[in-house]
């Protein structure tokens, strides 16, 4: 759908227009500028705010910003401590980054669907998708990174031989090696794919509903978009939370020696 020309207008044109990325390049070497820009911007905002809080962090009475940041950090830390029992300097900051970044990207969903694309069109930018997590590239970038960490920690903790043994000998023992390997491969690959697709699917569907609501007469829109937006506050937080928790759980599994 991304390649079609759709200057034709009408409902289909409107939807397709809203789901087309602003991109440069050809074929595989296409860069979705809007995804890169918004994800980078939101990541930058996240880092900026948290860095500011971290710089002025005091063990005394915390200010409002520090309070807010500490609340999130403690929440993430509790989740990580609950599911991950090893010692790792990476897991907790990783979880925090995922939670906040995904949440911010998802939260772009709550902006009116035509707001930023409308402003952009004034500057001659034809297409703009403001929710990076409705781009498969974004969700898979994270889930594949996490997958890389899973493999890395599996090998680091269990050793190359231990990892190979786990891949080949479980769950059915040495007589079923090919079958074991197949089963394990599916199991491992299912992790990044489900992780990426879950977030993408939820956000894409949510955004699509907003676009559909935007197609209705203006006097119907508030009655539908308001409840959906309220519901979406839950969805965006939940999806960010799920992504974070599953990452921690997967990495914790990678640390466990069977």
């Amino acid at each position: 759908m991304a390649s079609a020309e759709h200057e034709t207008g009408g409902a289909t044109g409107y939807i397709v227009h809203h789901l087309t990325d602003l991109k440069i390049g050809e074929g595989f070497w296409t860069f979705n500028l809007d995804t890169l820009f918004f994800a980078g911007l939101l990541g930058f905002i996240f880092v900026l705010v948290f860095k500011k809080a971290a710089e002025s962090a005091t063990s005394g009475v915390p200010g409002p910003l520090q309070n807010f940041v500490e609340m999130i950090v403690e929440f993430v830390d509790t989740q990580v401590k609950d599911s991950f029992h090893g010692r790792s300097a990476l897991i907790a900051p990783l979880a925090l980054t995922i939670f906040c970044w995904v949440f911010l990207m998802n939260a772009m969903d709550l902006l009116p669907v035509d707001l930023l694309p409308g402003i952009a069109s004034l500057f001659g930018i034809k297409y703009l998708r403001v929710v990076p997590s409705t781009d498969l590239n974004e969700t898979f970038a994270m889930s594949i990174s996490v997958f890389g960490l899973i493999i890395f920690y599996s090998i680091k903790v269990k050793g190359p031989i231990g990892f190979a043994k786990e891949m080949l000998l479980t769950p059915f023992g040495p007589w079923m090696i090919p079958f074991n390997l197949l089963l394990k491969l599916v199991e491992e690959l299912a992790k990044p794919i489900s992780l990426g697709l879950r977030l993408f699917g939820n956000m894409y569907a949510g955004e699509l509903i907003f676009i559909l609501i935007a197609l209705l007469p203006w006097w119907v829109q508030p009655a539908l978009s308001f409840p959906w937006a309220v519901f979406h506050i839950l969805i965006i937080t939940l999806q960010a939370f799920i992504f974070m928790v599953l990452t921690v759980v997967y990495l914790s599994l990678a640390h466990e020696d069977h």
Binding site: A2, W29, N32, L90, P93, L96, D135, N137, E138, S145
Partner: protein
């Protein structure tokens, strides 16, 4: 909707964010939280200690108070005893003084009686002698009968 090189861009962004968070955001925040936790724990411990010390001081104060009360009671008892003793002593002294005065008075009386007796005896002897003299004037020669008169006087003195 296809997987493109955007993926790599996003992975790099993601990696940078995680790296940054790991190095510059997480440690100071965690440190602050740990420090606050420690501060609160210390504060609670200090509070607990203060409470304990207060209890101890309370106990001590009570024991001091009890001791002081006991001491005061002791002192009062002692004073009372001393007062009683003193009163007894005074009474005893007064009694002794009375007895002494009485004895002195009795002795005086005794002496007076003795004196009176002596006087009387002497007068009786003189009287008797003079009476005897008057009766025996003519027949008795003073010088001749001096021995008898003397022995008579002595016998009278022994009465």
């Amino acid at each position: 909707m296809s997987i493109t090189a955007t993926l790599f861009g996003q992975m790099i962004t993601f990696g940078l964010l995680v790296w940054f968070t790991m190095n510059f955001v997480w440690p100071p925040l965690m440190q602050a939280l740990e420090e606050r936790k420690k501060k609160i724990a210390d504060g609670l411990a200090a509070g607990e200690k203060g409470k304990h010390e207060l209890e101890l001081a309370d106990k001590k104060a009570k024991s001091f108070l009890k001791e002081a009360k006991d001491q005061a009671a002791d002192i009062v008892n002692l004073a009372q005893k001393r007062a009683n003793d003193l009163a007894d002593e005074k009474r005893e002294a007064a009694k002794q003084e009375g007895e002494r005065i009485k004895a002195a008075a009795e002795a005086d009386i005794e002496r007076a009686i003795q004196q009176a007796k002596e006087e009387l005896r002497k007068q009786v002897a003189v009287l008797a002698i003079s009476a005897a003299g008057q009766i025996l004037r003519r027949e008795v020669d003073i010088n001749k009968h001096k021995e008898i008169i003397n022995s008579l006087g002595n016998q009278l003195g022994q009465v």
